[in-house]
Amino acid sequence: MSFFGFERSNLEQEKKKFSEGGLQETEDLAVYTWGEESYDGLGDALLEGGDELNDETFGGTGAVGKDFDFTSQTLPTPVGTTRGRFTPTAEPFRERTPVVERTEPASKPRDRGLSPAPKSLESIWDDKSPFSMLSRAAGHQRVPSNLMKSPFPPSRSPALNAYADHRPLSQQQPISHGINQTGVRTLQEIEAEMRAAQQKRKQQEEILLQVQLQQELQREEELRRQEEFRVQELERQDLQRLQQENLLADRMRARLEQEQQLRLQQQARMSTPRVVSHLAPSPRFNQQHQHQQQILLLQQEQERQQQERLKELQERLRMEELERQLRAQQLSQLQQQQPNLLARRQSPYADTQRRTHSPVIDSQYALFNQQNTQYMPQSIQLQQRLLSEMAQVEFMRDMQGISQAEQEALRVEAMRKIMETERMEERRRRKAAKIAHMSRYNDLMTQSDKDFITRIQVSQLVTQDPYAEDFYAQVYGAILRSRLGLQSQDERVIKFGSSGGVGLGLAQKGSGRRQSAMQKMEAQVERIVNNARLREKEKGLHSLHSLQGALGKTSGRSYKAAPRQLLQVDASSATISGTHPHISKEDGNGAAQEAAKLGREALGQAAGSDGVVRKDPLTQRQTLVVLEGLYDLVLNIEQLRRDQPLEEDEEDEEAFVSWSATYNDLVEQIWMNLKVMLPLETSDPHPFVSLLTPVKGKKILPRLSRHIAPPRMLTLLTLLVACFSQLDVVKHAALLDSLEETPERQDVERQTQAFLGSVLQSILPVVAKAELRVITGLLGLLLDRTNIVISAQTRPGIAMLTLFLSRVEIVKQGMSSAQESSEIPTPAEAQQWQTMFDHLFQLLMSHFVLLFPSTRLIAQPLPVAAPLPPTDILDQPVWQFLAALALHASSDQQSILVTSLREKVLDIVTSVNKGWVADEEERQTKLSNVNLFLHALGLDSSQISV
């Protein structure tokens, strides 16, 4: 039987083990033996790299006061507890890898210090390179490296050296002892003691090693230096002597020296010349190298001959012999290396490197290295490398007798190369720095960490209705696509059956990286969701969820951004009660009014003979509530439209039937909510007109009208025409004729724009298909129910009238062309229209001029010298209307029209022709306005002579 998932037998075993005292081997508990006789010294394992920095931390460099020693006064903790508390940190090391840990601290410093241990003389030279200085700077006060990096310490004996480095540690010991005496030991003290012991042992080993090594090195070094100095001396003497006799040799020597100087500088700054030389190969190397070797050989030969001829002193001869030996050795070395070097692609740098083995250079190099040990920036180093290359090339050319001009060209070329290389180097370094910066946190997270976070993120993205959640991005994407003429999938959504999905937002275009990232994300999301589902299934199988909540509830919603819902108003209670607590007062008012109304109805005033129930017009809030309902409905129906199953698909027959049932239901609800079918006399304004009052009411109409059948739209249009004067845009249109900028005027302007843009747009297709008798009826209704003179002075009115007239004009044109008999109205209908038109003309006849907003504006009492706004744009619809009117008018009516508008037309034409209008655009507008009207009469503004 298991309890909480633990195996009972295990517990038993543990207990047994514990009682037997076998704990130390198996249990991962801190068993502390430090300071006891049986202490195995494993605490030393604590010492790892970087301890030399402790000297700073623990004040190894100077006398340390005791002012920090608070523990001795305030915390008289027994030694045992302190130990027990702190030591577990050290113990795990022992448990895991005691052997390795113990050996490591000893071997590590040795590795660091002695790894460049000299196998040959050359490696000692290498160690003197600036990089070895650098490594000293990094691991400062490190004993072995300190000894290694200065192979020629003339004054310091190795023993002294070692002592000097040991000093800071020996200074630490008194401190720890001092604290020890108080009987309170902190972690730091223990650490210090442990470290001191470790350090002592290590240092003893190291000092022994170093002393041996140092002595060996120095012996070798001394030998070599003596040799080299002598050789150098000899060479110089030779040179001086040979100057007169062998000019060529001298010149070569001088050149070589100069060049070598450069090279030496460069090498002194190069971190590891050998490596660099292999990194920058060039095919030129071999040839040049051979050439130079020949020169050197020639030199040697000449020198030898000279010496023999002059019969030098015995000692000198011996030195010469030594030099020869050295050279021979180097030559043989080179020859050994030759095939190897050939195999790689070789470089002048490698060449320079080889040439430094000539004795002169070697000695100079050694001298130089001693003097110049500072690290130089890489760019300078590079520049010098290039300079030396240039010098070398120059030298080669010089030897071969190449003209000055060519040299100059070469130099320029070299300079250009230098600059270019520098630039490249700079760019490379910047790139490397950037990459290094970006990769600072590489591999901080494991793949499972990343997966975990991705899962959390994705789980936030998954929603029940991905399209609605991503609505704006989806719709915007659809608009963009349609504008670009692209036909792609309608929804960018990943769906997971019925459970939900993820909205993907806009389709990514352009950069391929983001595209692929999106695809990757999609794939990942799908994988994660599938995995989650599988897990869910498995869970179901194993019925693990029966244990869910056994350990208490967890709050799962902590990551949700939404504020906690404190008020939970039950939706059903609101509908049951039928009233709102928020607006109870108003309800009281409403009830009173309702009662009053009932009283009136009882008196037979309100109820007409046709049984119409009169109501109060919708209040502002009622209107808004209905509109919100309509918006909900329209969103639903639009969503439904998107989910429409394919009609032709036979399998989906049932789905389609149910879908269309839902759809029709929604359409019916919309129609009901629009309240178009309520009788005209229900209220003033009519509920439908009330719905059109807010801007959002006007704007929703085009979205609704898409779903409403044409006959119903015609009904809607009829209602709109019948209630035209009730519209806010008609009622408040007079405000637009004022020049004052008031918020009200702005509001009316906004409403008018919305009406023209939305409401008229949605009824336009209805009018465009209407038959003549329908138009006649509508016009009749308009004339009957509204004051046409006032309506015609509003922009919606003018627009509506123009709409009717132009539709009739089209019908008339169709009549004359006689395409389809069904469309041709009967003569009776035409007669009716004519009567109606005559009526309209009659009504408007004396007010034509007043139709123009410009005329009405001038009639206004002007505020002090306010400049007239450009009225020609405002007048344009009126000119259009008048043109349409002129087309329908009989010749009598036309003459009336011309007579009444004569002044206006002449005004405009004169002002245009006499150049009173400065603005070309305004001039054009004025002219086109007038021509619009005149063309309808068969005239043109150019015919008018002023």
Binding site: P563, Q620, E628, P694, D747
Partner: protein
């Protein structure tokens, strides 16, 4: 069958009614806004357009009583404004005449 009976279930539904309508917003720090409400959220963050902000600045009179001072009114207009919800005291439809 009262049309207004549906729709209002929580206080925010009242703000919803004012969407794309002109609203009056009272803010902390003696500020008031009127503008067309375009969007809101559960924090009462608002997006308004065509906004006029009215800021009351009380200049205390030197040596005067506590609470005395001249009130200056500064106004400014903005095309579009995001109002952070933590400053909102009330949102209401503007009083209609």
């Amino acid at each position: 069958m009262d049309p207004s009976s549906s729709g209002i279930q929580e206080p925010f539904d009242l703000i919803r009614l004012s969407l794309s309508e002109r609203v009056f917003v009272k803010l902390r720090g003696d500020r008031e806004l009127t503008g067309v409400l375009h969007a809101y959220d559960g924090h009462m963050n608002l997006i308004l357009s065509d906004v006029e902000e009215t800021i009351m600045i009380v200049d205390p009179i030197e040596g005067g009583m506590e609470g005395q001072g001249t009130v200056k009114v500064a106004k400014r207009k903005m095309e579009m404004l995001f109002v952070r919800g933590d400053g909102v005291i009330l949102v209401s439809p503007p009083s209609r005449t």
